[in-house]
């Protein structure tokens, strides 16, 4: 019915310009206490509401966080009602984060 070819999330994130992309060591701007996610959190919502899928769930249902694809939207800071997300902006020199080409 539809003739639209939609992109997968990795294809979409492939279009994002990240800063300090060449640096192997970056300072994460978000610190997640996944112990909270994996013990008391009833919904583990960051694993589906994050627009960049920085929060993933493994086969055993455990939550993991990777900062590299983060596009600094802020969604997780509001979505997490368990106090597991310590959210900051990336450091311009040693952090990651985005530079939008269109915005």
């Amino acid at each position: 019915m539809s003739h639209t070819k939609t992109l997968s999330l990795p294809e979409r994130l492939g279009l994002v310009s990240y800063r300090n992309q060449a640096k192997s060591e970056i300072k994460p701007h978000i610190i997640v206490n996944t112990d909270i996610c994996n013990t008391v959190c009833p919904h583990k919502c960051t694993t589906y509401v994050c627009p960049a899928n920085c929060y993933t769930m493994d086969d055993k249902g455990m939550v993991h966080f990777q900062v590299e694809d983060c596009i600094e939207c802020g969604t997780c800071m509001y979505a997490c009602d368990q106090g597991a997300v310590d959210w900051n902006f990336p450091d311009p020199e040693i952090g990651r984060g985005v530079t939008w080409n269109f915005g």
Binding site: L7, R12, I71, E72, A79, P92, F102
Partner: protein
């Protein structure tokens, strides 16, 4: 740098740049700090800048090719079910007059251009060598002494000023640090915005959307667009790209267990949207949080001793059904903040009561008047009856009304009654009608 500024502005988005322009024109000595590589590099918006305040900041901006993308003379509000769309469509050459009442902008380009205009204003001011726009600097703390904001800290460095304007955007960490907003803001009145920029041959885009010269169209969607989640969709024509996206109620998204990018794919595959974006190439995917316009999520107050908060940091954004307004609120609040500081500088009084004049100015402006007046409309738009049942009902009616069969045709009133029975109840509509009547 030991010298003290009249003002430090945090954030070179629309609010911060509007404030900076106003300060420069009034010969104030200021420092505007931006965390991104250049102004606009960290900003995402839908986005239409509504109203005509831009013409006050940059007179005759429309004579320039740079900065803005298109002016809006064509508005469309679309109700959507899984197969159909039913639109209210308004286009008028009335909107071709300058100053335009809405321009589509892409922030990475627009903010950078506006910052160049601010640089020009600085160069013409008394502080051509002493006022700065500094990029690539993250402000980590507002320095407070005896309850008064006295400057900011970035890393080990401190900068001091008589006043601080917080224009840091919706993720307002500094506003929280100084205690004007709670340290945790719940998801209840926040929405996640996601967007694709889709590129076309410019002629194709102009033909497809009947654009003439720099004219453009804005289209908002309610219903199937968000796949059962509260919120809506939007489509704006840029110069040779489309901005296509969704705003999704974050609490509802959490409860329904849906992924925003999956919903965007469902939206793009809708037959009507599919026809609109056919042949385009996605060149950027972005996301950003926005507030709903519900006053309950606004900071407790927007000023303290030596400090004011503007733009989205103050959650000045509203969608009351007519348009998604945010950048125009940011621009006006930035101007009003700067005007307050210019006035306070004359008496060298930056006390809490002196800074409160900003709040008073904002309350007297269309920004807070509209936010206060249209709270019921904001609530109504986030009612599931409005975001799901009504669009289905309207599209069902449209399908019946526009179907010509070789059999006796029912009267429209009867068709409407059938559609209501199918998708909602008279009681729900009655409630909605009463609420809507009061709200709009």
């Amino acid at each position: 740098m030991d010298e003290k500024f009249d003002c430090i502005i945090v954030g070179a988005g629309v609010a911060g740049l509007a404030a900076a322009m106003t300060l420069a024109r009034n010969n104030m000595k200021f420092l505007l700090i931006e965390k991104g590589e250049f102004p606009g590099s960290k900003n995402v918006s839908g986005g239409v800048l509504w109203g005509s305040d831009l013409a006050k900041l940059v007179p005759n901006y429309w004579e320039e090719d740079a900065g803005w993308d298109r002016f809006i003379n064509h508005r469309r509000l679309t109700f959507m079910d899984d197969q159909s769309t039913f639109s209210v469509d308004f286009k008028s050459s009335h909107f071709n007059q300058t100053p335009y009442t809405g321009v589509v902008v892409l922030r990475s380009k627009f903010d950078r251009w506006l910052a160049e205009k601010v640089e020009e204003a600085i160069a013409e001011s008394d502080y051509a060598m002493d006022s700065f726009i500094a990029t690539n600097i993250l402000v980590e703390e507002v320095l407070m002494e005896d309850g008064k904001a006295v400057g900011i800290r970035t890393g080990e460095e401190k900068f001091y000023a008589d006043s601080v304007i917080i224009a840091e955007g919706v993720n307002n960490l500094l506003t929280r640090q100084v205690g004007l907003q709670d340290s945790y803001v719940p998801a209840d009145h926040m929405l996640t915005g996601i967007k694709e920029i889709i590129r076309f041959d410019q002629n194709v885009l102009e033909d497809r959307f009947q654009l003439n010269g720099r004219s453009g169209m804005s289209n908002e969607f309610v219903g199937f667009a968000t796949d059962g989640v509260e919120g809506g969709g939007f489509l704006y024509t840029n110069k040779d790209t489309l901005s296509l996206g969704l705003v999704l109620g974050l609490k509802d998204l959490r409860e329904k267990g849906k992924k925003p990018y999956d919903i965007l794919n469902t939206f793009k595959k809708h037959p009507v949207i599919s026809d609109m974006i056919q042949g385009g190439e996605v060149v950027e995917y972005s996301a950003h949080i926005v507030s709903s316009g519900d006053k309950r999520v606004m900071p407790k107050k927007l000023h303290t001793h030596g400090l004011v908060v503007c733009g989205e940091a103050a959650n000045l954004l509203m969608n009351a059904g007519k348009a998604i307004q945010g950048m125009d609120y940011a621009m006006r609040s930035g101007i009003l903040a700067a005007e307050t500081i210019v006035e306070n500088k004359k008496t060298d009084d930056f006390s809490e009561s002196a800074m409160k004049k900003y709040q008073n100015r904002l309350d007297d402006s269309y920004v807070m008047k509209d936010i206060n007046n249209f709270q019921d409309a904001v609530h109504l738009l986030h009612d599931p009856v409005m975001t799901q049942k009504i669009p289905n009902l309207i599209c069902d009616f449209g399908r019946n009304f526009f179907s010509i069969k070789n059999e006796p045709t029912k009267k429209a009133r009867e068709m409407m009654s059938d559609s209501i029975k199918e998708h909602a109840s008279y009681w729900e509509l009655l409630k909605l009608g009463v609420k809507g009547g009061k709200a709009l």
